[in-house]
Subunit: 147 residues, 2 copies
């Protein structure tokens, strides 16, 4: 029968995930994907790489950098297709990160509420912006300070 092929091309992976072909090559370069090659040197991906790319996208939305995402993906088995169980473990870890993020935002919000009361928005008085927070909730921000 004409069942689905075992491997998919870069173009297929791109259209299935909505990610540009160039971005997929870039992810490979960064070590997030490890496609095989055809005899003609074209990349061939496992079907499970669709899920892998989905994971990359979701994790990015949560603010993880590609390097951090790579770390998470290291927990997936090399070579063989990850099982449902493999993905569950990794998902649970992500849930913890979301929890943490929500907590930080909630704290920030209540601090801001206090500031709305007094209208101060000042570093000294509010503690809304202090060094500890700085390390917690990350964003761009001046670099020197982050070191």
């Amino acid at each position: 029968m004409l069942g689905p092929e075992k491997f998919i091309s870069i173009g297929q992976l791109a259209s299935r995930t909505g990610v540009a072909v160039s971005a997929i090559r870039f992810y490979e370069e960064k070590g997030l994907l490890q496609p095989l090659r055809t005899s003609g040197n074209q990349r061939k991906f496992l079907r499970s790489d669709i899920r892998r790319v989905s994971f990359i996208l979701i994790a990015q939305k949560l603010g993880l950098a590609l390097a951090e995402i790579e770390d998470q993906l290291k927990n997936l088995p090399e070579g063989r297709n990850p099982t449902q169980h493999d993905w569950q473990k990794i998902s649970r870890r992500m849930r913890a990160q979301i929890d943490e993020k929500i907590l930080l935002l909630t704290r920030t919000r209540s601090q801001l509420d206090q500031c709305i009361g007094c209208g101060c928005l000042s570093l000294q008085k509010c503690q809304l912006y202090n060094k500890d927070d700085r390390l917690g909730l990350k964003g761009p921000g001046p670099r020197a300070v982050l070191d």
Copy 2:
């Protein structure tokens, strides 16, 4: 009496906010700060610029880009020192943004929970990663898709 000076230097602003001098100049270049100059061409800032910089830092933590922060700051009066009331208005707007962020994260979390149940983490099945979300919760992610 020796009351506090009306203006502060760039170095003072830097040490009061914890932001590098180079970053402050950069913010000025981007239009986020509009210091006056001394006869010797050195920048002189209003004391209220400390608050302004604090705001920039806080807003960055919430994921706003400098351009967006500039938009918010446009709501502050030019020239005169912002009043407590001015800051309150702007703070309330920020609170709304935090609320929205928390909402999005909460939604993402519950979707992820469903995925943990099935272990799928797939685009089609879970809807954890769809285009609507993509616009909502922003992050890096492939550019083409964002257009």
